[in-house]
Amino acid sequence: MLSEIFVEPFADMVAAPDFLMQVLWEGLVSGILYALIALGFVLIYRSSRIFNFAQGIMVVFAALTLVGLHEAGVPAWVSVVLTLGVMFVLAVVVERVVLRPLVGQPDIILFMATIGITLFLIGFGEIIFGGENKVMITQELGIPTDSVVFEPFGGLLILEQKDITAAGIAALLVIGLLLFLNKTRMGRAIRALGDDHQAAMSVGISLQTIWVLVWFIAGIIALVTGIAWGARAGVSFALEVIAYKALPVLMLGGLESISGAIVGGLMIGMLEKLFEIYWGQPLLGGNTETWFAFMLALVVLLFRPQGLFGERIIERV
């Protein structure tokens, strides 16, 4: 028993390093997407103290809109642009209708409001696009669907090109966001908001503008995630669950830490895959990915309540 837990998995890893690499690669692709979604959470949280539960449904909604538009005869790339437009409108509506009237309410109320948004979008989406599974317009967007084969250590490593593309685009988006946050006035205002409202106001950008902007960024992230994940798993409301995966990432990395979201996302993506393949499937009947990340985050926080990257805060009265 003990050897099944502590010895054999590692022996397997060493015995078939190519397979280990395959597992890690797949974890990494998921991890990049987790990181991306977590980043969307962090931006919204930093700028408005809102724990945005609607991030997951935004992914679904963006993907459905994209596919729906294409099905209605709109060319693929035009659909992308139109979908971005829809996400922008969504950001404006959310700010006007939900955020503005709720300014200053306790955190839990704002959190609940985002659950309200989630439900609203689920109902709305189902009525407009229907509930059945759809296929992401991968080829139409020019994303290659072949696979690349390597032979490390005399083994076999297969990388799907769409995964490579997804990882590449997600990585670009992360880099783009970091540049935006660090190099532009608007970006710095968003970051400042997390630390100090007054300072951000003094930059001369209104809070409302910033909120619309961060929700729009969250919308862009949602679209990219939707395309990337939709290409792997199809487009349906089940996509929403991948946004849940961003939550343990936030626990580990911290709700306000941009680098935490990235490192945490990659870590969780790879660790949960490793656990599933080497422990979950042989010992626990599989499907451990539903909870592993949460348990991992929970255990880490028990020992480091400030998260992996947070500084210890001494409470004062």
Binding site: G123, M251, T290, F294, L298, L302
Partner: protein, 358 residues
């Protein structure tokens, strides 16, 4: 006028601490109880029992349990559904392992198991706060539902992976399973829900309630005035999970009749959370108001288009329902973040001074 309180003076603190310092409240309660215990059961159709009366009571109880934890003790939980599942599976195992057991005793005992597991998952609350804790409760949610699926012993190795409520009788009357009537089941549910509501009212108006609220409002200050935060939080987890577990057992044994693991998944947790929040966090009454709204809305939505002669498929109705619930949540949060209970409180205050505005 109806709520004229002039002339009602309290002569002792015990009178002031009575549940209903204002006489009209007591009258109102008696009317409600009369409806619940006599008029509804005598007049309700099978449809009303199954779509309104029984689910409203069970959802209210589950929301009440969550409210103890989140509304009173301030610990946000997103795992209510899974704890209902623990209650349901515990009850199932008890009645199948010990068929001689009185079903009501089994239901009341099933809460003990969910309380135990609630305490275990409550331990992180000693170190983790706010949203971090909320995410931590999702660990319980996902892990437990996974366990319900993978641990075949829990569902007695049924090929379907689901639990099926057997016929259970008490003094010759079937109270659960295919043979039981809605009429009997309604009374069982009503009795248990009334009992636990009374217990919750007692707990929340005395020292335990103050301890929890102090923990919620300012944990550091609470600790410095001598409140043992660990105890305060863990008792909240225990009491809350107990009630939620009993609600889960009722949910399956008195209403659904069968359950698959995914019944206890996140949507159920959120449903309970909506009820508690729309009803009003930190209120007992609110859970009932919230449940009436959330359970009643789809029923109304199902009837209205028909009455208007509109042709809408049932799937569309369901989606419309989800959308409207979402909209309503936002609407209520904006007009009254403290929920329906607070709305009632304001109306009541108006009634008390009516017709002399001041």
């Amino acid at each position: 006028m109806f709520y004229r309180t002039a002339g009602q003076f309290k002569t002792s603190y015990s009178a002031d601490q009575a549940l209903f310092p204002v006489r009209q409240d007591a009258v109102l309660l008696i009317v409600i109880l009369a409806f619940a215990w006599i008029i509804f059961p005598l007049t309700a159709s099978e449809f009303t029992f199954q779509t309104l009366l029984i689910p409203i009571l069970i959802y209210s109880l589950a929301a009440l349990g969550l409210n103890i934890l989140t509304g009173y003790a301030g610990q946000l939980s997103l795992g209510t559904g899974a704890f209902m599942g623990v209650g349901a599976y515990a009850c199932y195992k008890m009645v199948t392992l010990m068929p001689w057991m009185n079903p009501i005793v089994a239901i009341l005992l099933s809460g003990v198991f969910s309380a135990g597991i609630g305490v275990v998952f409550g331990i992180p609350s000693l170190r983790i706060k706010g949203f971090y804790l909320a995410i931590a409760t999702l660990a319980a949610q996902f892990f437990l539902v996974w366990l319900f699926e993978k641990w075949a012993w829990l569902y007695n190795y049924n090929a379907s992976g689901a639990i099926q409520v057997p016929n259970l009788d008490m003094f010759g009357v079937y109270v659960a399973g295919p043979q039981a009537t809605s009429f009997t089941q309604y009374y069982v549910v009503l009795a248990i829900v009334s009992l636990l509501t009374w217990v919750c009212i007692n707990l929340t108006r005395g020292r335990p309630g103050r301890t929890w609220k102090a923990t919620r409002d300012m944990d550091i200050a609470a600790e410095l005035i001598g409140i043992d935060l660990m105890r305060s939080k863990l008792t909240a987890f225990a009491v809350s999970s107990y009630i939620v577990g009993v609600a889960g057992a009722l949910f399956v044994f008195m209403w659904r009749g069968a359950a698959e693991p995914n019944l206890f998944d996140i949507p159920l947790s959120f449903r309970i959370l909506f009820i508690a929040i729309i009803g009003g966090l930190g209120s007992v009454l609110g859970n009932y108001l919230g449940a009436i709204l959330i359970v009643g809305l789809p029923v109304v939505l199902g009837i209205v288009p028909e009455a208007l002669g509109l042709e809408i498929t049932s799937a569309t109705v369901e989606h419309l329902n989800v959308m409207i619930v979402g909209g309503l949540i936002i609407f209520f949060l904006i007009i009254e973040p403290h929920g329906l209970a607070q709305l009632w409180r304001l109306i009541r205050e108006k009634l008390i001074i009516w017709p002399f505005p001041h």
